[in-house]
């Protein structure tokens, strides 16, 4: 029973997902035209319950190992569980206005919750087997979600996502197999103990294992050179799913990477080697993500490339970990804090995009011209999110970048910090260009753009959140650091 309590938040999500499918077969059809709304109302319970249960864990300070070491509840997994549950909740909240009267809404919500459950498990998985199962649970659900619209673009996106996702899953599995083969364990704690011996005996194999694992997880983190799917999928998927992918899925990838690399493979001198690898990947992601984002005309695609660049900033933290304690905690804490503030920012941005595209039926940046006059509040909210992504105060993005660049400097990775800051300058061009279009351009069409109350509420919550984190970063920072300490 203790195990059940520990994985409670995950179970709530899964239970509601299951209930949705059942209800869709028997109860929801009775609602007639309200079928979609009914599914939505039920779906909201999942993330809400998960957040409540997670919060109860946080307040009680509960910790423990569940299911013979397959899942560990600690500050780290709890941080991610709350983050993923909240992001899933936000994605569910903004969905009805996007989906309208479409069919199969219950399946849509069920898949989203299942995927969320997978990501939450991923952060707590302390065994290679459960880690892989969690990875598959979330990926398979996402494949379907991406193609949910069933239009050409969605189909193309889904196929790309499935094929590349399958390859990356296979690569991850190879990495896991090699790690198991050379250490003889699947539990991360035992792997950690066995790594020095294995390293002494079979060094090339170990290096191969961590390259394979980085490649496999790199797909989820959406970093260069495993980013090929990102622009098409972000553009083709339903926008709430894009929002979800850009934050939750990425967070899951980083959670798994931190678990494996910091927890299991964070052993000298191996750590130095993967730190260099991540530093290079970080540099590539920042530079290529930003350069590609510069030339995009579709805002979802632009945010897709921007998310690659942002992942590059997160990776700075991973590269800084290897320099050892306390920089290790600083790097990990930096990633966690960055992910938290990134969640506010991207959810806010995508909520505004949904609200605007409902009205103007387009995701072209050019059509955002003069938005400040058609909807001052939405334009202001989007502007704040973009300013936060650029890393300008007083937003969460500024504090996050400050913290992670500081981690890099303390880890003697000055070149990476300089590159990161220069990339922020580069990114200002495409982020602020949207702001400019909204505030300076002439409206392309008349008429006010009004968000639905639900979209307005999510947008407001996210923007207020990113300002609060920007001005009073203390609580989130403390949570992130506590989570980082739990890992190290």
């Amino acid at each position: 029973m203790e195990s059940v309590n520990l994985v409670g938040p995950v179970l709530v999500m899964l239970a509601v997902a299951g209930a949705l499918l059942l209800a869709d077969a028997f109860l929801l059809p009775l609602l007639g035209p309200w079928r979609g709304r009914g599914a939505w109302a039920l779906a909201v319970l999942g993330p809400a319950g998960a957040v409540a249960w997670g919060a109860a864990h946080a307040l009680a300070g509960s910790e423990g190992v569940a299911f013979q070491g397959a899942y560990t509840l600690d500050a780290f997994s709890l941080y991610f569980a709350l983050l993923v549950a909240a992001v899933t909740g936000a994605a569910v909240l903004v969905s009805p206005d996007y989906l309208g009267e479409r069919r199969h809404q219950a399946e849509y919500y069920a898949l989203m919750l299942a995927s969320g459950a997978g990501l939450m498990t991923l952060a707590g998985a302390t065994d290679l087997i459960s880690l892989f199962v969690a990875l598959e649970l979330t990926s398979l659900s996402q494949f379907v979600l991406v193609g949910f619209l069933r239009d050409d673009r969605g189909a193309e996106a889904a196929i790309k996502y499935i094929v590349l996702g399958a390859i990356s899953a296979a690569i991850t599995l190879y990495g896991i197999a090699i790690l198991f083969g050379s250490t003889g364990h699947t539990s991360l704690a035992q792997v950690r103990e066995a790594v020095p011996t294995a390293l002494a005996e079979r060094r090339p194999v170990m290096v191969l294992a961590f390259i394979l694992l980085a490649a496999g997880l790199g797909f989820k983190m959406a970093i260069v050179p495993f980013q090929m799917w990102v622009p098409d999928v972000y553009q083709g998927a339903p926008t709430p799913v894009t929002a979800y992918l850009s934050v939750a899925s990425k967070a899951g990838g980083f959670a798994a990477a931190l678990r494996i690399f910091v927890d299991a493979l964070g052993v000298e001198p191996l750590a130095r080697e993967w730190a260099i690898m991540f530093a290079v990947l970080s540099a590539l992601s920042m530079v290529l993500g930003n350069i590609m984002a510069l030339v995009q005309s579709d805002i979802k695609r632009m945010l897709g490339y921007s998310s690659i660049a942002q992942a590059g900033y997160f990776l700075i933290g991973l590269a800084a970990v290897a320099a050892g304690v306390p920089q290790g905690e600083l790097g990990t804490g930096g990633i966690l804090f960055f992910l938290g503030s990134y969640a506010f920012t991207n959810i806010g941005a995508f909520a505004v995009i949904i609200a605007i595209s409902r009205h103007i039926g387009s995701d072209e940046i050019a059509d955002y011209a003069g938005m400040a006059r058609r909807s001052p509040l939405l334009a202001l909210a989007l502007a704040l999110c973009l300013v936060s992504l650029t890393g300008i105060p007083p937003t969460a993005g500024f504090v996050a970048k400050l913290y992670i660049f500081n981690a890099a400097v303390q880890a003697h990775l000055v070149w990476l910090a300089v590159l990161g800051v220069v990339n922020s300058v580069l990114s200002a061009y495409y982020y602020l260009r949207v702001v400019l279009t909204m505030f300076v351009g002439e409206p392309v069409a008349p008429g006010e753009v009004r968000p639905t109350p639900l979209l307005g509420a999510v947008t407001a919550a996210a923007t207020v959140g990113l300002l609060v984190v920007g001005i009073f970063p203390f609580p989130l920072l403390e949570a992130a650091e506590r989570a980082a300490e739990a890992l190290i």
Binding site: V325, P326, Q327, E329, L330, G333, V387, I392, P393, P394, F398, V399, L402, Y403, F405, N406, A407, V409, Q410, H412, V414, A417, V418, V421, V422, S424, V425, A428, Y429, L432, L436, F439, V440, P473, F474, L477, E478, E481, R482, A484, E485
Partner: protein, 488 residues
Amino acid sequence: MLSLLVFLPLAGAAAVALLPRRHEMGARWLALATSLACLALALTLFAAYDRDGEQFQFVDRHLWLSSQVAPFDVQYALGLDGLSLPLVVLTAFLTTVAVLVSWGVELRPKEYFAWLLVLETSLLGVFSALDLVLFFLFFELELVPMYFLISIWGTGRRIYSAWKYVFFTFFGSAFMLVGILALGTAAGTFDMRELQAIGPLRETVLPAEAIFAFLMVGFGVKLPVVPLHTWLPDAHTDAPTAVSVILAGVLLKMGGYGILRLCLSILPEVAQQASLFLGAFAATSILYGALATLMQGDLKRLIAYSSVSHMGYVLLGASALGTVGLVGASMQMFTHGLITGLLFVMVGLVYERTHTREIQNLGGLASHLPYLTVVMVFAGLASLGLPSLAGFVSEATVFLGTFPEHPALAIMGVLGVLLAAVYILWMVQRAFWGEPQRPWHGLKEKVAWWERVPTLALMAAILLIGIYPAVLMDLMELGVKPIAERLA
């Protein structure tokens, strides 16, 4: 009290933004009231500063961002000393002037005055921050209002100029951020007061010379130092009048202030080695700026280029590393703010009446615009350093301080003054006297109260400092003394 001063404009901006659309024109009254209140507060602080007391007074300090795992504490710490207090007064004064000369703004007035007040908060913040990170935060914050002010209310190639401004500044501050982080990491604190007291940095991630260079790039863009100045003519020329006033009057001083406050006082050893380099850059700026000014046919561009030359004196005074030179530098910042502020106001007023800024199209204005001509001549004479006006005091002090250290450079600086006499007198002669190039029929002077008040106030201030410089100099001497002691 100091926090109140810093955030009062922000509150004013919020109030302005919340005004109902019917009372749009009330924005300027609200903005005027706010800026006057700030000016009153700033003058109160100026009077209340205890000249026998501690260096930093009115200190307001709270822990803002703290890491449990690493020496990374950021304070919300504000305080003023003899170096920053005059600049705070200057900021409050010139913002009031800027609000007055913007009285005629009819395009989206609410947004305009709100941004102007946000700008004031960020400037006051820069000068009163006692923590490096907080300093950087305010330094960056200024970009947002400037970007909007230039790109929406500017003239000519305003969007291009706004971008160029943002990019140069952002690029410079990118290096500055890394420098600040490296400095903080090496010293274990971001508190300027503690940093001032530490000896040579021992364990650094970057060599102290590199930190110095990184910081200098950031401040050199802002000051600006040739060859990092190319953003300045564009931004100044295309910005609306009031913004040019603040840009030239206060924003450039952020660079000079940063050099004195960070580069010289925290890294005195490096400053000693770099003294000659700084002086050479200063002399280049002075001469290059003056020569470029001679070539300008546009009245506003001419004043803009003359700023490049005049800010060179700040760096020249600083490069001497002695009390006299530093007082001169700090005095030059103040007087240049007043004089160039006045010049930009005058250019704006002339342009509003003649609708041209090309000097060759003007001519013979004196008989039509007697008041404006008198003020322009006054400002011009102050700018070329006529004794008994403010410009003379500061430039003479700079030369006095520099001559013993770098005689050759000081002489080159004096050449700059000669050139200044040439371009100013030539400009005045061509634009205000001589044959009218156009029949100025119906050109009536009619000076409104909101034009007369700021010009008179600025002239009074320039005259006051010219005749009785001690009113500021005592304070500045107190401000630079600790820096000079560290440099000795």
